[in-house]
């Protein structure tokens, strides 16, 4: 066998092995009860794990986030499928929004939703605007879907909402609240 022949045989094997290695942690399931939240600067485990993101998607439905955010399109609450953020689009900032609420109507879920679940929901929320790797984001759902699956959404450019600064949106919601 010449060197070229050997290479021809070895290459597909190497490519396959590399693909398999890449998939190793993709769907790892951790069932330990109290996983500490990630430290500052650490990559967020939930955002590299398809199982965690799909659990986040399930919890998003279970806890009726769509009641205000309407499947990510927005309604009573702001849309989540764009990447315009009033209070920051980092995962830790989204977790903060879920657990401690935000002015203008977002309730605080601390004590109602365990921290571990909040991190999964935040990871899923980021996948709604295409911020996660496509092999990690969910590619199907159990409920009626709005738009293409998360794994096929193009990545939105993260921006703080320039049209509605936080203070203005609070004022606006206070006004609309008073009108009701």
């Amino acid at each position: 066998m010449t060197r070229a022949d050997a290479l021809m045989v070895a290459m597909p094997g190497l490519v396959l092995a590399a693909a398999m290695l890449g998939g190793c942690e993709r769907e790892q399931r951790r069932f330990d009860p109290a996983t500490p939240p990630p430290m500052a600067g650490e990559t967020i485990r939930q955002e590299r794990n398809a199982y965690d993101v799909s659990q986040g998607k399930r919890l998003f439905r279970w806890y009726n986030c769509s009641g205000c955010h309407a499947g990510g399109g927005g309604g009573i609450g702001p849309p989540l499928i764009d990447a315009r953020w009033r209070y920051g689009g980092e995962t830790s900032q989204i977790v903060q929004s879920i657990l401690h609420g935000r002015p203008g109507g977002m309730p605080a879920f601390a004590g109602r939703i365990p921290d571990e679940q909040a991190w999964k929901i935040a990871a899923y929320v980021r996948s709604m605007s295409g911020q996660l790797r496509t092999d990690v984001a969910a590619n199907r759902g159990d409920a009626l879907s709005s738009g293409p699956p998360e794994s096929r959404r193009s990545r939105e450019e993260i921006a703080l909402d320039p049209t509605r600064p936080a203070s203005a949106s609070i004022a606006a919601s206070a006004v609309s609240g008073a009108q009701r």
Partner: protein, 323 residues
């Protein structure tokens, strides 16, 4: 569980209702046919070996060149196979027909929904005020037919109560129906029979078949809302349950808890098991389950509660009071 369960509590060969009996008859016919075919094939093989043309290591075996006999035998074998397969087909059709002809006068209507990895059960009634929800334990009145409407909340499940009826799948987005009647009082065990994820094996469905009077008493108790807790410890437990994350998924009728993502807990203490047949339902197992469900059922969607030991005791006292 108790003495009445011994014998036929999860046994397809011990039928305790007409549907299971029909399936058992078909199973016996199939077993008989297959045994006969197996025996005949072995016999034919032995005869063929015995009568095979023999040679020594020096002479070739003598084979008659134009022997039509083997061809005739093959023809007979094909005809017999066709007849026997036809007999199985007829048996299967007759059984199916018989299963569909169960008398359903005065039938009880029950909606059974499969979830990963538990069952939600809704007892229907023409009078809406008499319907009620429960979970993970099916109660049937003795001798009265029941129509089970089967749904799934997530993936495909299948319900199989071997002593009472054949299997039926629960399919997301689709409704299937299972009719059955139980003709012997006692406890039975059903099991999810379609692989549905990590805890498929621990997705059991205890079934209790009771005399009609006892069943009615049970149903009346289930219709009632939860009793307010009696003592101070249980009251503290109730505050912890209603003020914590339990109510994000569970319902306790008569309180503000009304979520439907997990099993209904209104009469939790009246059930025999926890976690869909995973653990016996007593105070110590309940405490162990609440504080770390994943230790008993890895992958379960219920998160661990982070109660202090004192609080956990109060929560268990409250949940045990939900008779």
């Amino acid at each position: 569980m108790n003495a009445s369960t011994s014998g036929g509590w999860q046994d397809a060969l011990l039928a305790h209702g007409p549907q299971a009996a029909q399936v058992l008859d078909l199973w016996r016919i199939t077993l008989a046919v297959c045994t006969l075919v197996f025996a005949l094939v072995l016999l034919a093989l032995l005869v063929a070996l015995w009568r095979a043309p023999r040679g020594t290591h020096e002479t070739a075996p003598q084979i008659a060149p134009d022997d039509r006999k083997p061809l005739r035998r093959v023809g007979v074998a094909i005809a017999a196979s066709t007849l026997l397969l036809l007999a199985l087909l007829v048996g299967s059709v007759v059984t199916d027909r018989a299963l569909a002809q169960l008398g359903l006068r005065d039938a009880l209507h029950i909606e059974l929904t499969g979830h990963q990895w538990w069952w939600s059960i809704h007892y229907d009634d023409p009078d809406p005020s008499r319907t009620f929800d429960t979970a993970n334990e099916l109660h049937l009145p003795l001798g009265r037919p029941a129509i089970l409407t089967l749904r799934s909340g997530d993936v495909i499940h299948s319900v199989w109560m071997p002593s009472l009826a054949g299997k039926k799948d629960l399919i997301p987005g689709r409704t299937t129906t299972l009719t059955l009647r139980a003709d012997r009082a006692g406890l039975y065990r059903g099991q999810c029979a379609e692989f549905c994820g990590a805890q498929h094996a621990w997705m059991a469905l205890p079934v209790s078949v009771d005399e009609p009077a006892r069943f009615d008493a049970w149903a009346d108790a289930q219709r009632a809302t939860a009793k307010p807790p009696g003592d101070e410890l249980a009251r503290r437990g109730q505050r912890l349950v209603l003020g914590g994350d339990c109510v994000m998924c569970h319902a306790i009728r008569g309180t503000d808890a009304g979520a439907r993502q997990g099993p209904d807990l209104t009469h939790l203490a009246a059930r025999g098991t926890l976690g869909a047949g995973t653990l016996p339902n007593d105070a110590s197992h309940l405490a162990a389950w609440v504080s770390n469900p994943a230790a008993h059922k890895p992958g379960v969607n219920m998160p661990s509660a982070t109660f202090s030991p004192d609080d956990l005791q109060a929560v268990v006292a409250y949940l045990r009071s939900l008779q």
